[in-house]
C-alpha cells in the first residue's frame, strides 16, 4: 500500500472506529533514522486501515527500549511489536509482556530468540542476512576490497550488515566510522580513505544520506570504486539511474511495520498466528538500474 498519509497531529491519531485496539511499536532505531521511519510509516498505515491506535517509539539504548516495553505493559496495550537488536537485554521486559498476556511480535533482528521469548511470530530478516546479500552482489561486481561506512559507532545493526557483507564478499572489508549528522565530514573521510588506500574498489553505505556523500567522495578522489547502499531515497534512486550507485539493498521494511500490526490485529480478532514458528521474511530485495524507475516514486512517499 502506498497511500500512507502524512502523520496526523497527535490528538487525532487515536482510533476513530474499527477495532479500537492499541498497539505499541518499539524499535531500536533512533528517531529520524530513514530505515526505521519507513517501518513507522508501515505500522501507522496498517493501524489506520484497521482502525487501531498505533504508537511508535524507538531508542538505540536497549535499557531505554526495555523501559518503553515496560511502559506499554503498564498501559495494557493489545499488542507489542519489538525489534530485538539485543535479545538478552530485552528478555526480561518481553517476558513481563508475555506474562501479562500481551501478544508480542518481534521484527527485524532477533529471529533466533523470538520463539523462546514467547513471541507470536517474527517478521523480517536480520541485518546480517541483508549484509550477506549485499556482499554477494558486490562480489559479482568485482569488488575485492570493500569500505563499509559505519555512521553510528557501536550500533549493532550496522555492525551486522558489515559483517554479513564480509562473510560473502571473500575479499577484505574495512570499516570506516563517520558522523552521520555532518555530511561534509562524511565526504571528506571517505575521500581521505580512497586517497590513501588505492586498493579500495568498493564502498558500502548503510544509509542513503551517506550514499550521497560517498558518491561525492568517489568523484572527489577520482576513484573507480563501485558504490552500493542500504535503503532508498529519491537522491539514491536518481544516482542508481545515473549509474553512480550500483544497487540499493531494499529490506522492504515497510512490511516490517505493516505486517506485525496486521498479524496482531488478526491475532486479537481471530487468534491467528503466522509462520508456524518460522520467521516471515521481508527481503532482501535489490533496487538496481532495472527497477529503479518504478521504485522512485514510492521512495519519495516514504513507503520503500
Amino acid at each position: 500500500g502506498g497511500q500512507s498519509a502524512p502523520s496526523a497531529p497527535p490528538a487525532t491519531s487515536a482510533a476513530q472506529e474499527g477495532s479500537g485496539a492499541k498497539f505499541a511499536v518499539i524499535t531500536h532505531g533512533a528517531p529520524g533514522d530513514s530505515f526505521w521511519d519507513v517501518v513507522k510509516n508501515g505500522a501507522e498505515a496498517a493501524g489506520e486501515q484497521y482502525g487501531a491506535q498505533v504508537t511508535y517509539q524507538g531508542d538505540g539504548d536497549p535499557a531505554k527500549q526495555s523501559q518503553l516495553i515496560d511502559q506499554a505493559v503498564s498501559e495494557k496495550v493489545d499488542g507489542i511489536v519489538v525489534s530485538m537488536a539485543n535479545p538478552d537485554a530485552l528478555k526480561e521486559a518481553i517476558g513481563k509482556a508475555v506474562a501479562a498476556r500481551i501478544p508480542v511480535v518481534t521484527i527485524n533482528s532477533g529471529a533466533g530468540s523470538s520463539k523462546a521469548f514467547g513471541a507470536v511470530t517474527h517478521v523480517g530478516q536480520s541485518e546480517d542476512v541483508a549484509g550477506r546479500g549485499a556482499g554477494e552482489q558486490l562480489k559479482a561486481a568485482g569488488v575485492t576490497k570493500l569500505l563499509c561506512v559505519i555512521h553510528e559507532a557501536g550500533n549493532v545493526g550496522l555492525d551486522q550488515r558489515c559483517k554479513g557483507a564480509e562473510e560473502t564478499l571473500g575479499g577484505t572489508v574495512e570499516r570506516l566510522q563517520v558522523d552521520v549528522s555532518n555530511l561534509a565530514d562524511v565526504t571528506s573521510k571517505v575521500t581521505a580513505k580512497l586517497q590513501s588506500d588505492q586498493q579500495v574498489n568498493g564502498v558500502l553505505a548503510l544509509n542513503p544520506a551517506i550514499a550521497v556523500a560517498a558518491r561525492d567522495a568517489i568523484r572527489d578522489a577520482g576513484s573507480q570504486a563501485r558504490l552500493a547502499t542500504f535503503d532508498l531515497s529519491a537522491d539514491v534512486v536518481e544516482a542508481i539511474q545515473a549509474g553512480e550507485v550500483l544497487f540499493a539493498v531494499d529490506q522492504q521494511q515497510y512490511l516490517q511495520g505493516y505486517l506485525p500490526i496486521t498479524f496482531l490485529n488478526l491475532y486479537k480478532a481471530n487468534l491467528n498466528t503466522v509462520g508456524g514458528g518460522l520467521p516471515v521474511n521481508t527481503g532482501p530485495g535489490f533496487v538496481t538500474k532495472d527497477n529503479a524507475a518504478q521504485v522512485a516514486e514510492l521512495a519519495e512517499a516514504g513507503t520503500r
Binding site: 497531529p9 538505540g60 536497549p62 523501559q67 503498564s74 535479545p87 528478555k91 550500533n155 549493532v156
Partner: protein, 342 residues
C-alpha cells in the same frame, strides 16, 4: 537565630524555605507531575510511577554525583561512557574469562576509580579546563570500549551474564525489585535515595562539603585559606567515577548484556538534571537533593510524553518545552523568594 534586628523585615517561613536551591526544583517537579497526572491515569498509577521512577533512579545517581562535581567547579563528560566501560568489564570478565560476578564488579570498580583519578589528576596538574580533559577521556573511552569489545568478542555487544557465577546474588542486590503495595519497584531506587542522602550529608554537614563549595566558588581564595583544592577535586572526579560504576553495574546486571556504545550522550543528560535541580554551571552553588529532583523531572517528562501517546516525531519538541518550563517555574519561584539580588 540572631536577636531581632530592626533591619530585618519579617519573612514568612514559606519564603525562607523557597530560597533553598532544591525547593525551587520541587516546584518544577509538582508542575510537571500535575501536568501528566491530570491527563494520564496510567502515569499516576503505582505501576506507572514505578515505571518512570526507574530511569529517574539511574539518572539520579549520576546526576547527584555530577552535581557534586559541578558544585566543585568541574565537569565530567566521560561519566556516561564510563558507565558503559564498567558494564563491559563486568560482563566481559564474567562471561569470557569465567571470573565470578563479584570479582568482575570489583575489577570494574578499580578501573572506574582509576579513570576518575586520572581525570582529576590531569585537570589539577595541567590546569586545562575539565571540559576538554574529560572530553578527551570521553573519546578515548569510547574508542577503548569499542576496540576492546570487538577484539575480544568480535561483535559490538557482550551478553550472557545470566549464566555467570554469582549472578543471582549480585542481581538481587543491584538489579532486583522490591514489592511495595503490590507494585514492584526497582531496587535502583533505593540506591538512588542512599546516594542522595550521603551526598547531602557530605555537602551540608562535613568538612569536605565546605571544601567542595569553596573550590567551586573561588578556587584561588579557597587555596589561600588552606583548602586542599587538588585533593578535593580529584576526590570529586572519583566520586563521579564511582557513581558511573554503580550505574553501569546495575544496568549490566539488569540487562545481562552491554553494547559497546552504551552511555554515549548521557553525560549531558546528567548535567541537565543537575542544572534543572538548581546547580550553577559556573560552580559553587547547588544541592544533591536538587539534582535528584532534577532527575525525576527529566524522567517524568521523558516517559510522560510516551504515556500521553504523543507522536514520537514531535517528542523532542515537547521535551524541550517541558524542560524549559520546569526550569523557568523553578527560577521564577526562587526569584520571588529572594528578590533581585546580584
Amino acid at each position: 537565630m540572631t536577636a531581632a534586628d530592626e533591619r530585618l523585615a519579617h519573612v514568612g517561613l514559606a519564603r525562607r524555605l523557597l530560597i533553598r536551591p532544591e525547593l525551587g526544583a520541587v516546584v518544577g517537579l509538582v508542575v510537571v507531575f500535575a501536568f501528566f497526572a491530570a491527563q494520564s491515569p496510567v502515569f499516576r498509577s503505582p505501576a506507572g510511577i514505578a515505571n518512570w521512577l526507574d530511569p529517574a533512579a539511574t539518572l539520579g545517581i549520576m546526576a547527584v554525583a555530577v552535581a557534586l562535581l559541578m558544585i566543585g567547579g568541574e565537569f565530567d563528560l566521560s561519566a556516561g561512557v564510563l558507565t558503559g566501560t564498567s558494564g563491559l568489564i563486568l560482563v566481559t570478565l564474567a562471561t569470557r574469562f569465567g571470573v565470578s560476578v563479584w570479582l568482575a564488579m570489583l575489577a570494574g570498580l578499580v578501573v572506574a576509580l582509576a579513570v576518575g583519578y586520572a581525570n582529576g589528576l590531569v585537570v589539577t596538574r595541567t590546569r586545562l579546563p575539565s571540559f576538554i580533559v574529560t572530553l578527551g577521556t570521553f573519546l578515548m573511552l569510547q574508542g577503548v570500549n569499542l576496540g576492546v569489545t570487538k577484539a575480544i568478542t568480535g561483535t559490538v555487544q557482550v551478553s550472557g551474564l545470566r549464566r555467570a557465577e554469582g549472578f543471582e546474588g549480585a542481581s538481587a542486590i543491584f538489579a532486583g525489585t522490591v514489592q511495595i503495595g503490590g507494585t514492584s519497584f526497582r531496587v535502583a531506587i533505593l540506591w538512588w535515595i542512599l546516594v542522595t542522602a550521603v551526598a547531602t550529608w557530605v555537602l551540608m554537614r562535613s568538612k569536605a562539603g565546605n571544601w567542595i563549595f569553596a573550590v567551586g566558588g573561588d578556587e584561588q581564595a579557597a587555596r589561600a585559606v588552606g583548602v586542599p583544592a587538588a585533593r578535593t577535586k580529584i576526590a570529586l572526579f572519583m566520586t563521579t567515577a564511582f557513581a558511573a560504576w554503580l550505574v553501569g553495574s546495575i544496568l549490566a546486571l539488569r540487562y545481562t548484556s552491554v553494547q559497546a556504545n552504551i552511555g554515549i550522550g548521557q553525560e549531558f543528560i546528567y548535567i541537565i538534571a543537575a542544572v534543572i535541580g538548581g546547580c550553577l554551571l559556573t560552580g559553587g552553588y547547588g544541592s544533591a537533593i536538587g539534582a535528584a529532583i532534577g532527575a525525576v523531572i527529566f524522567g517524568m517528562a521523558d516517559k510522560g510524553i510516551v504515556f500521553l501517546g504523543w507522536d514520537a516525531d514531535w517528542f523532542k519538541l515537547f521535551l524541550g518545552a517541558m524542560l524549559l518550563l520546569a526550569t523557568l517555574a523553578n527560577r521564577l519561584v526562587r526569584r520571588y523568594a529572594e528578590e533581585v539580588r546580584h
